[in-house]
């Protein structure tokens, strides 16, 4: 009961984040230095809760919200967003693999293209002027909100026309849903289009530190015909590979600040543990609507900041 009340309070607090982001000045204030990591932990905690309830990674929420609400430069916020997504994906991967919830034979080819693009995107992002970056981030976040709003994921992927690339790469199998015990035979389709899509997603993820679950899951499920639950796990596994290349770029360029990344990572991990309880008071659809609303406000704010700077 206490956890439910805590979860309800967290949802209400999260709903207030965009209003705060809208009103907050983008420059440093008179707050003492230690207040910022504490506040960052709190906001990341809320992001972790809602991200789990909405079935997305935290990076896509972290960068636009923290970029708007905190006085940190976008270079460091993107670096922290990327590390956040990487840590979340790495932590979940062993469980995904052992539970048969993700397919490594999909991950390995798709991630190769994605990681090359993420590395290039990360380099380009760190070369762009802040104004261009902020404007682009605003546009990208608004597009992501539109994708999340319109995305209609499919539990069953229907009849699968055979794809010779899927045969060559072994992208097929029998998926057993651990919850229902139901078995679904699947065979990936549109493999080349999938690789191209992962390239674009990797580039955007590397450039803006957004993670990639928001796009990987629809690409795997709707485009490539992978069962939804398998697509969710496979997406997580691929983020752990794709973000590795981009993380090294941010590390080598000096764009990772411990004071930003550690409270963010710990906050999201702690929030994700409570997120499971939020599912009792909030359906995934409602959580997703909440995320779309926050993304629209944070994206619009980033866009306006970029255009007015």
């Amino acid at each position: 009961m206490r956890r439910r009340a805590l979860a309800a309070a967290a949802v209400a607090a999260f709903a207030l984040v965009p209003a705060l982001a809208w009103a907050a000045p983008a420059t440093a204030s008179s707050l003492p230095w230690w207040a910022w990591p504490v506040l960052l932990f709190g906001v990341s905690f809320l992001i972790g809760i809602i991200a789990v309830a909405a079935g997305i990674g935290g990076g896509v929420l972290f960068v636009p919200i923290v970029g708007s609400l905190f006085p940190f430069h976008l270079d460091f916020v993107r670096g922290a967003g990327l590390m956040l997504a990487l840590c979340g994906a790495l932590s979940a991967s062993p469980r995904i693999i052992r539970g048969g919830l993700g397919e490594m034979r999909m991950v390995i080819p798709l991630s190769l293209a994605g990681s090359v693009a993420a590395m290039v995107g990360a380099h380009m992002g760190l070369l762009l002027p802040t104004k261009v970056l902020q404007t682009s981030l605003g546009i990208i976040v608004l597009i992501i909100a539109a994708i999340m709003w319109r995305a209609k994921e499919r539990e069953s992927t229907g009849a699968q026309p055979r794809d010779p690339w899927a045969d060559a790469l072994g992208m097929h199998g029998l998926f057993r849903d651990p919850k229902t015990g139901r078995e679904v035979e699947w065979h990936a389709r549109h493999v080349l289009s999938g690789i191209l899509t992962f390239t674009v997603i990797g580039f955007i993820g590397g450039m803006f530190g957004l993670g990639a679950g928001w796009a990987n899951v629809p690409a795997l499920n709707v485009l490539m015909g992978v069962p939804l639950k398998l697509a969710l796990g496979t997406s997580g596994l691929s983020i752990s590979v794709i973000n590795t290349s981009a993380a090294w770029v941010y590390l080598n360029q000096g764009a990772l600040l411990p004071m930003i990344q550690v409270p963010a990572i710990l906050g999201v991990i702690a929030g994700a543990r409570l997120g499971v309880h939020v599912l009792r008071i909030l359906t995934p659809v409602t959580a997703r609507w909440l995320v779309v609303g926050v993304l629209v406000l944070a994206g619009a704010r980033a866009l306006l900041q970029g255009l007015s700077s």
Binding site: A28, H73, M83, S91, N252, Q253, G254
Partner: protein, 136 residues
């Protein structure tokens, strides 16, 4: 003879999961412990926490210029500083997947899965290029 003690070969995916689990644990512990040493002032820091609000709003290029903070692999030489030591945890976490890929490469070759083994080799190359900072 097929005795009851016959050992089943460990699937490469299980090896991958095991290595990843160990790597993430080590990386997260290193990240949190080094942050605690930094924030509690146990180790001297290159940029003191109280000075950060004056520089964390700068683009990374200007930040490095103003603070003289290390980039590339220069952090290795300054691991005695709390904030720089934190990079060790980041480097471990960013190396976990590389280690996992290296670990499963030979099992894939032995299993005759040439296409997947080739892609794994290429992926290792890409991650190593990113890690060395060769493209900087």
């Amino acid at each position: 003879m097929n005795g009851t003690n016959e050992t089943k070969p460990v699937d490469w995916r299980e090896t991958y999961a095991r290595w990843m689990q160990a790597g993430v644990r080590i990386g997260l512990v290193a990240l949190v412990a080094s942050f605690a040493l930094y924030i509690l002032g146990v180790l001297p820091s290159h940029v003191a926490p109280a000075q950060l609000p004056g520089v964390w709003g700068l683009p990374v290029g200007q930040y490095l210029e103003r603070t003289g903070a290390p980039s590339g692999w220069a952090w290795i030489e300054r691991l005695g500083q709390g904030d720089v030591l934190n990079m060790l945890g980041v480097a471990i976490l960013s190396s976990v997947t590389i280690a996992c890929y290296l670990r499963v490469f030979l099992p894939l070759v032995r299993a005759g899965d040439r296409i997947l083994a080739t892609i794994v080799a290429l992926q290792i190359l890409v991650m190593l290029v990113a890690a060395t900072g060769w493209l900087r």
